[in-house]
Subunit: 306 residues, 2 copies
């Protein structure tokens, strides 16, 4: 089982409108709802790859109930979400069908009480012992201590379970110092962590801050990885147009999936890049196109990046 | 008891953002949720004026549950909403705090089955017998017959209960022919019904189509009423800036409230205009400022409009 942690789960709502006009009234042609938050997205991709996944984190209120109900429809995902009294957030993507552009609105997360955080920690401690890998993903809701990910990384390491951390800002800075197996920043998150906008030195700098491996997302150019075994860049064979929502989460799922299967770093990166590109190519945000994935798995170029 | 009918109830969600930028990502600073749909708004204003109100219509799904939970917090409003299998809609107002402007998104309503419509009709038939007045408000969700309001008007008239109809398009056209006591179109709805954009002749034309009285909303200029007792225009003493959301629903509540208290037409119009203006002046959309209402009740000018 792979454990995914989503402390700030969400209900991802998408509205399609013919054209977005500020200050006008719009009839929404179609509404879709999906369980969301980065760790939930990772869980769904891992499950699609055939892995058994347990999803934990917090959900609460009527929005949280919908998240759980939708999550129950995903095969191979076990719901171990911890209830919180405050309500889970929605995210809203308004898709302008005339341009294909998306306007995003993110509600604030629920306030987590100290008692709820303690309950989560106790449950996480038990779950991690049965896990082959752990993904810690996304932002911290209000009330969760800023050092939360450092605590969760240490607990996984104490249990001998590899842990991937995908977050930003101070939560990332503190989490890295607890020495996770992998972090997966994008260019902006890496620059915030290291102060450098030059990907290669910044990726290496991030490693020196504690992570065993740093896999930096370069957007359409693929991934750059600095690891104990070497430094690589992995790139898709061609640019793919589409919706990049969820591409980073698919890369996380690819890295963890290959890790638990014992694959080496070039294979891990190949899988991550192929899944990420197949997610951009899929018509529905956050899902990957299996045909594109199979095609790209044999076409990703991995080069020595050092 | 006053009965309000909201066939297409909604959860009215408001997002406040510092500035709305199409195709950008926004952190929502504050989220508010209220039970909505025109008849629900009317019910809340009537209750605030001290009337006992029963609210019926349809609600369903997780959004419907939130609507009922929020409605239960309104004193003097009895929930007689009929469950439907499909989910109630949300409306979303995104308020740009830099300009004060609002961008509105309206989800489609639930699909009502013939069996659900039959259950509603049976319940409405019972409720209307205990009502002193009925308000039929807003759009018809998919599946409800387009002649629905004509059926509901006739059932109220058969029970000897005065009925106010506030809707638009074909639902209004058919409803008017069933001879409701009052209709309350705005200028656009009246033009669609009559083909005329000239308020006085159009208001009189609408009366000839069947309504005993037609009260046309002129926006900031107040109300124009054509009735069996005469024709009047009622205007606030001064222009009020603010949010017009819900002003029409407050006017409906004012008309019905005064009607059941036995007030004459000039008094009904005075109350409707004062409540409507006090709603524009209130900081929260759909609520009225009691101080402004008390002040304007003594300052609305009613003139012979014929």
């Amino acid at each position: 089982m792979i454990l995914t942690v989503t402390l700030n789960t969400a209900l991802d709502v998408t509205y399609r409108v013919p054209r977005l006009l500020p200050h006008a009234s719009h009839r929404v042609a179609a509404v879709t709802e999906r369980p969301g938050g980065k760790g939930i997205n990772v869980a769904r991709v891992l499950a699609a790859l055939g892995h058994e996944v347990t999803a934990t984190g917090f959900t609460g209120g009527p929005v949280g109930s919908v998240v759980r109900e939708l999550l129950a429809r995903s095969p191979r995902v076990t719901d171990a979400l911890v209830p919180c009294a405050d309500g889970s957030r929605r995210t809203l993507a308004v898709v302008d069908e005339s341009s294909g552009d998306t306007t995003q609105f993110n509600e604030p997360g629920p306030v987590i009480t100290p008692a709820e955080w303690s309950r989560f920690l106790a449950q996480y401690g038990e779950l991690v012992r049965g896990a082959r890998a752990v993904a810690l993903c996304g932002s911290l809701p209000p009330g969760v201590p800023v050092g939360a990910y450092a605590v969760l990384v240490r607990a996984a390491r104490a249990a001998g379970v590899p842990v991937l951390l995908d977050t930003s800002g101070e939560a990332l800075r503190r989490g890295v110092a607890a020495r996770p197996e992998i972090i997966k920043p994008n260019a902006a998150e890496l620059a915030e962590l290291t102060g450098s906008r030059d990907p290669l030195p910044a990726t290496r700098d991030a490693r020196r801050r504690g992570a065993h491996a740093v896999v930096t997302s370069l957007g359409p150019d693929g991934l750059l990885a600095a690891t104990a075994e070497g430094t690589w860049q992995a790139a898709p064979p061609r640019g793919l147009s589409g919706n990049p929502t969820g591409a980073g989460d698919s890369a996380v799922a690819g890295l963890l999936s290959a890790l638990v299967e014992g694959a080496d770093w070039p294979d891990r990166l190949t899988r991550a890049v192929a899944l990420s590109a197949a997610t951009v190519a899929a018509p529905t945000a956050g899902e990957f196109d299996p045909g594109v994935y199979e095609e790209l798995r044999h076409a990703v170029r991995v080069t020595d990046g050092g």
